[in-house]
């Protein structure tokens, strides 16, 4: 794919929104599987949560939080464009969405890790 005509902020925002959505969809079965371990007893869930304390999983969780926040903020931007007709300052809106996503990741790192 020729990326020369696809480098403007709103196109990158579209790409981030699509890729984050796909990755979150891939994560969902894992999420349900983790919750499902509770059915087989508290000890099993507890064991999984202990395993999830390792730094590599925490790093992956931080990426997950950023993806979720990016998908949410990007989705709100598109909804504002489509439902409220906020057509001006789209580049600023993209930057604000990206900032919110990174801020969410940072807050997660500061508070949880």
């Amino acid at each position: 794919m020729d990326m020369r005509p696809r480098s403007h902020p709103t196109w990158i925002a579209f790409l981030v929104h699509r890729v984050s959505g796909l990755l979150l969809a891939l994560f969902l079965p894992l999420h349900f599987w983790a919750l499902g371990t509770a059915i087989q007893g508290e000890a099993r869930l507890e064991g999984f949560i202990r395993w999830a304390d390792n730094p590599l999983v925490k790093a992956a969780e931080t990426i997950l939080v950023v993806l979720l926040a990016a998908h949410l903020a990007g989705g709100l931007r598109v909804m504002a464009l489509e439902f409220l007709g906020w057509r001006r300052r789209q580049k600023d809106m993209v930057a604000a969405s990206a900032g919110l996503a990174l801020l969410a990741g940072l807050l997660f790192l500061l508070n949880v890790v």
Binding site: D2, R4, P5, T10, W11, F14, R18, L81, E82, G85
Partner: protein
């Protein structure tokens, strides 16, 4: 641009399965991309096919793909698009059949204006006759401002060639046709609102737009077809929810 003495121009030759031919064109001050193409055709190879008419950004016939991006070539200065080596790559517009060389077939583009019901249907004279009275449309009204925002389209197809959704779904109406539809939906003199909204709904219509805004980014007239499409989506949403269609 680091003033190269000559431009190394790669020009698409042939039909869809053609290839690039290379030409060396003298670099000049205030040279437009259309000037470069014209130089090649007049001085180097008269068989080169391309299209232009007004040369002043009014007619919309000279659009091509310049270094990967769709642009109106008559108003594109070479120095703005060329790199330090003086390399220029010219292709016909994307998302359209290639007739030959730099001339793309715009028939599918204009067919979609028809499909999107892009012609004015006077409310007061359904037979197409001129109404007896002038319509009074206050310039400050919301509908008038929405219509005015998209009315200056010159039909150059730069937005259509830049649209990924057109590339993915060849039936997709595209930004220009829907920008036109939006101006007419906001035209209080028009009587075909329901049919027009029906025409732009559905899989090949406004709901397929992903708001990548390439159309808005590339429009040489600085129009905002992406917002026009968003307006169609919004109108269809509320009309459907409130049972108005």
């Amino acid at each position: 641009m680091a003033e190269a003495a000559s431009l190394k121009v790669s020009v698409w030759r042939g039909g869809a399965d053609g290839g690039f031919a290379r030409y060396e064109v003298p670099a000049r001050a205030n040279q437009t991309v259309l000037d470069v193409v014209t130089h090649i055709q007049r001085e180097i190879d008269p068989s080169l096919a391309y299209r232009f008419a007004c040369r002043v950004g009014m007619c919309g016939s000279c659009a091509m793909t310049v270094n990967g991006r769709a642009r109106w070539t008559c108003r594109t200065h070479v120095r703005k698009v060329v790199d330090a080596d003086g390399a220029l790559e010219l292709r016909p517009l994307a998302n359209l059949p290639v007739i030959r060389d730099l001339a793309a077939d715009l028939a599918p583009f204009f067919d979609k204006w028809q499909r999107a019901k892009g012609s004015f249907q006077p409310k007061d004279a359904p037979d197409g006759a001129v109404p007896e009275e002038f319509a009074v449309v206050p310039p400050g009204s919301k509908a008038r401002r929405e219509a005015d925002a998209g009315i200056e389209c010159i039909g150059c197809a730069v937005c259509y060639a830049s649209c990924d959704v057109v590339a993915w779904n060849p039936d997709y109406l595209g930004p220009a046709a829907m920008n036109r539809a939006w101006t007419l939906v906001n035209d209080v003199r028009d009587g075909a609102r329901a049919e027009r909204l029906e025409a732009v709904a559905g899989d090949a219509g406004c709901h397929s737009c992903h708001s990548t805004q390439s159309c808005t980014e590339r429009c040489p007239k600085n129009l905002d077809p992406s917002s026009a499409i968003a307006g169609l989506k919004r109108t269809l949403f509320w009309d459907t929810l409130l049972g108005r269609r």
